[in-house]
């Protein structure tokens, strides 16, 4: 199971152009219904995490012992793309998905740049922590799934129809932005910011202006200036994540305001 970046980029672009696919369908490669039956695959996922630990550890060991000439860092990307676990975590808890990519590229760039082994080991440790944290999140999601407490991951067309649903969708998309940026798909991340603004935020900002115009203006600046510029200037995953987290806080307030406004809305007929 290998995926090159080009087809994945095309798949994402098509999904966004259609504008009607649910976000989970934007994961690396094909999202199968497996993500709706997590508990049946927890054993596989655990094995995959251990396998990944071994693979990344071996690459870093080779770098430590034999230098960068003996290491093919493209493998670091391929390992992660080999496993089914990536779609499980991408559909359940995107923030950790971004951290995994951040650490993988941390190792890769460290090796490619000939960094001291301690720097590379530090990134390897971050990757291990992120992988195990991700496995924990998937196990928790599996429990919730069995209890019917989480929505089924949608692989068919679906769009949010109420303002609070739109806000939730925006927040999910922004997590994706960090993930795609961490994956070094800068153009995809930028397009996702732009499309989220046009396809989602513009639909709710009108109602929001009446309740907190400064909040809307603030978010408009975040969407159109702060976040895309941070990505364009390659400010780093932590900086982009900080911007997104600040936006999430503002969006939580927006959701509360919009939900209250909807309660007071008059009837059509």
């Amino acid at each position: 199971m290998t995926f090159t970046k080009a087809p994945r980029y095309i798949a994402l672009a098509v999904a966004l152009a259609a504008g009607s696919m649910s976000l989970p369908a934007l994961a690396n490669g094909e999202i199968t219904d497996q993500v709706n039956h997590l508990s049946e695959h927890l054993g596989d996922y655990s094995q995959e995490v251990k396998w990944l630990e071994g693979k990344y550890g071996a690459v870093v060991d080779t770098y430590a012992n034999e230098g960068k000439g003996k290491v093919d860092t493209a493998q670091l990307i391929e390992f992660w793309e080999e496993v089914n676990f990536h779609s499980a975590i991408e559909t359940q808890y995107v923030p950790i998905y971004a951290s995994i990519w951040q650490a993988i590229y941390g190792i890769k760039q460290g090796i490619d740049g000939g960094a001291d082994i301690s720097v590379v080991r530090e990134q390897e440790q971050k990757l291990k922590e992120a992988l195990w944290q991700a496995l924990g999140a998937v196990k928790l999601a599996a429990q919730y799934q069995k209890q019917g407490l989480v929505d089924k991951v949608r692989t068919t067309e679906s769009e949010p129809t109420t303002a609070p649903e739109v806000v939730d969708d925006i927040k999910n998309r922004l997590h994706k932005v960090v993930a795609k940026y961490a994956e070094q798909l800068t153009e995809v991340a930028t397009t996702l910011v732009h499309d989220t603004y046009l396809q989602r935020f513009e639909g709710i900002e009108g109602a929001l202006i009446e309740h907190d115009a400064e909040l809307v203006e603030d978010l408009e600046k975040d969407f159109n200036v702060t976040l895309p510029q941070a990505i364009e200037k390659d400010a780093g995953v932590d900086a982009v994540r900080d911007i997104v987290e600040a936006m999430q806080t503002k969006l939580d307030r927006a959701k509360t305001l919009l939900a209250d406004a909807e309660k007071n809305r008059k009837d059509v007929f």
């Binding site: 769009e159 900002e205 109602a207 202006i209 115009a213 008059k266």
Partner: protein, 345 residues
Amino acid sequence: MHRRTFLQGLGAAAVFGSMPFASRLSWAASPGAVSVDSLPPLVGDLTLYLGRGEGGLYENVLEAIQKRNPKLNLRIRRGGSAALANTIVAEAKAGVKRADLFWAVDTGSVGLVTDQQLAKPLPSDLTGQLKSGFQYPGWTPVTGRVRTLPYNTERVQPDAIPDDIMALADSDLAIGWAPAYASFQSFVTAMRLLEGNKATANWLRGVNRNAKKYAGELGVVMGVERGEVDLGFANHYYTLRLKSGKPDANVDLAFTKNDAGCLVNASGILALSDGDLPVNFMRYLLSREVQSYLATEAYEIPLVEGVAPPQGLPAMDTLSPPDIDLRKLADLRPTLNIMRDVGVL
């Protein structure tokens, strides 16, 4: 040159800020608009392709229609208006027809479909409900939005604002604009179609001398209100919504005359299937109740005769939008080329 058409048309500007919120949103529809009570019940299957609307308010309208017509089986496919228009055209080329109706938020998307002769002709009693200038044989506008000049009431007097959009390129007023914003680009497209490419490029250069750039058009209105600039370019609803939340805001609306500066763009709906059901569904959207709902809740401009506009806007017949086929606003590429050549994008 400096004659003005602005809020004084209704005497609304003076009282707008002092009226309680509830009364500012209350509207009495004039006799003549068709009530939903007089419309036939909707029975049968309909598939609607719905371009994304105003934060769930279109959804509220559809839900209300569905609730009122329990024997209507309404299936909705949602997406961006342009994407759905392209889908309809592609489906037609493949010999497939899935949509009975297409409700788009912009007329450019309507044009993509009507240009392919896919829209069914509409009865004249339906199109006749629309205001003069908004009657089309193959589609009907639902609600509109007008381009405006929001201005800071502390920094500039209304009579200092030209009522000719082209004259603003020669003025010394500090101007706020959002060149990357889709509505602004539609406005520049209208100018290009009305005045030509060269005049539009010169206008962009002229305005750019005194312009401050904002990310979006709410930002423009907020910048005007804070006094960062004297006036700006924006759709009407930003100012009205800002003033509904902040009645003492230092901003009011001015309008140009007979040019792109007071372009009225619209959302529109068309039928892709024959028969009474799609047309009768459209009658519900043009009913007094739905038009009033969208005017009061979404600040959109009703385009049906006999339904009043959102308060704070002059009556439509006091505005003088340019005579332009709105469907041509889809031709955006030459506009973007000019804006890039001039260096404003």
